[in-house]
């Protein structure tokens, strides 16, 4: 029974957040859209002119764009595959009775708390370096030729580093969901003679489906904009072999000072993310009703 007084007070209390987020959402985005129709380079100030859709046609016909689009998808799908499959396996393992469960949990969660630049540099130098890295030492130990990960398989290396960071997230969420599974249901299935495999397929997996969807959607949002890991390991290269959309726009803006082109790229990235966000919002909206 909210009175008129409390209702207007409530509105007043919500106002600052709404106004701030509204400004944050509209002002820069409107500017990006405006810039994307200009021929505007920071190296040539005062030369701005209306350019129509030429920035978009330039960006969309650039071979680097297709490479970046492919790399973006490869990073998202590659990391999702590793983290979801690995996360389910790890969650099932950590759900078993064992000694020192709390400590193992802490060990597994740790990579998620590491800042991206540290994670990427540690992997780049101390593991993947073809001369001094641990992987090179292991290879030599087995009489193999050390492999230069970042030069010969840059995209795969980035995927590996990012997957290491996100595996804990998937594991943690799937484990939380797994622990809410009714023990009696599992026991009943076991009594009825269901094998471990069919218990997993018909009981555990359906129970996890919601958590898996949440993991996929939230990770996709973050994985679409992987940036720091690429910047400090491969710098997008060799060539554009490990450039994703975020990195391409960054390079266009802050390395080539092409404000117009970068803005068009930014808008394309926004449209892509919105397609994903649409599904995520529907998911979370449903939980609000529940």
């Amino acid at each position: 029974m909210a009175t008129l007084h409390t209702r207007s007070a409530a509105r007043l209390m919500i106002a600052p957040s709404v106004l701030l987020l509204l400004a944050w959402m509209i002002v820069p985005l409107a500017m990006t859209i405006y810039f994307s129709f200009l021929r505007y380079n920071l190296l040539m100030p005062g030369m701005e002119e209306f350019a129509g859709f030429s920035n978009y046609t330039y960006f969309l016909t650039d071979p680097a764009f297709f490479q970046a689009l492919f790399n973006t998808l490869a990073i998202v799908l590659g990391v999702l595959f590793i983290t979801v499959v690995g996360g389910i396996a790890l969650a099932l393992l950590l759900d078993q009775p064992m000694f020192g469960q709390g400590i193992v949990r802490i060990l597994v969660i740790a990579p998620f708390l590491i800042m991206p630049t540290v994670a990427a540099l540690v992997w780049k130098n101390m593991f993947m370096n073809p001369v001094n890295g641990l992987f090179a030492w292991l290879a030599k130990l087995f009489g193999l030729q050390p492999f230069d990960f970042l030069a010969n398989a840059p995209l795969m290396s980035v995927i590996l580093i990012v997957a290491w960071q996100w595996l804990p997230f998937a594991t943690l969420i799937l484990l939380t969901a797994l622990q809410s599974l009714d023990e009696e249901q599992k026991e009943a299935a076991q009594m009825d003679g269901a094998s471990a495999w069919s218990r997993f397929i018909y009981l555990v997996l359906p129970h996890l489906s919601r958590a898996i969807t949440v993991v996929i959607l939230i990770q996709t949002i973050f994985l679409l904009s992987v940036f720091a890991e690429i910047l400090v390991t491969t710098n997008g290269g060799p060539g554009t072999q490990s450039t994703n959309l975020t990195f391409l726009v960054y390079a266009q803006a802050l390395l080539q000072f092409d404000v117009g082109g970068a803005s068009a790229g930014g808008i394309i990235a926004v449209i892509l993310a919105n397609i994903v966000a649409f599904f995520l919002m529907r998911m979370i909206g449903k939980t609000l009703e529940a």
């Binding site: 919500i14 597994v108 990579p111 641990l134 595996l167 919002m281 609000l288």
Partner: protein, 276 residues
């Protein structure tokens, strides 16, 4: 007999789980160990795990060569500053939406969340130009502003899901007894909301501490937090593994400790309450 089998199973599970856990944790352990080696030992072949001459020289070197403490303080100021300002803005909003919901509350919440879906790179150009023209580029103030805005939706959402769990009747009762709005907030709501606020604070400090898009793009020498400072190690400058490790260890240690205390809140905060 059955008990025997289950104990054996438990031992097998323990061995497998610990092996995998240590493998996943190994890069962090390795960084920690390397930070106490000399540069020569850091790249020695075969590498030594524990048996080397432990030295803390790298930690001194990192501080004396580059002003490490400045960047550490930048991280502290930016992550705590943005989180605290975010909380001050978000607490009244989340409170109002949790206790005086209207028909549109759900839409407002969903809309707030949708701002989080916008990829940062979509507004990189205007933000960079705005910051350049207003002198906010490479300042702590500028980073605090941006990080407050990008984390505000998460702060509001987390607080909202926690506030929702506080029984509304208690507030009604306080109101009946003639408590004013400010008294209601200070004496009734706050004590009940402290655990939720603390969890929100913790998660957001972690997120802000590790944020590595805006901090890398909008800061240079002066205001660079640790994310950007560590990135400067990406250009090879001779032998530097031990120093990189020392700088990294100091950068990740505080957050590792905070994070281990807030595992449960991590799940809840990062899934916007969809998985509890």
């Amino acid at each position: 007999m059955a008990r025997n089998v289950s104990t054996r199973r438990k031992i097998v599970v323990t061995v497998v789980a610990w092996t995998i856990g240590i493998l996943i944790f190994f890069p962090i352990l390795w960084t920690f160990l390397t930070s106490f080696k000399t540069e020569a030992e850091a790249i020695a072949s075969p590498p030594s795990l524990f048996f080397f001459d432990w030295t803390t020289e790298n930690y001194h070197e990192v501080q004396s060569r580059s002003n490490y403490f400045l960047h550490f303080m930048n991280s502290v100021v930016v992550s705590f500053g943005s989180t605290l300002i975010g909380l001050i803005i978000a607490i009244p909003s989340a409170w109002a939406m949790a206790f005086s919901p209207t028909k549109r509350t759900k839409d407002v919440l969903m809309w707030m969340l949708s701002t989080k879906m916008m990829p940062s790179v979509g507004v990189l150009v205007p933000m960079y130009l705005l910051f350049r023209n207003t002198g906010l580029l490479d300042t702590r103030t500028g980073l605090v502003i941006v990080l407050t805005l990008i984390n505000l939706p998460i702060i509001i959402w987390m607080l909202y899901t926690y506030f929702k769990e506080i029984p509304g009747e208690i507030l009604e009762a306080a109101r009946m007894d003639g408590a004013s709005l400010s008294n209601e907030i200070i004496y009734v709501l706050t004590p009940m909301a402290i655990p939720g606020i603390a969890s929100t604070l913790l998660l957001n400090i972690i997120l802000a501490w590790n944020e590595a898009f805006w901090t890398l793009n909008l800061s240079a020498a002066k205001a660079a937090p640790l994310t950007a400072f560590i990135a400067s190690y990406s250009s090879p400058e001779g032998l530097f593994y031990a120093k990189l490790s020392a700088a990294s260890t100091m950068a990740i240690a505080p957050i590792l400790i905070l994070g281990w205390f807030s595992q449960k809140q991590l799940v809840r905060g990062l899934t916007f309450g969809a998985v509890k």
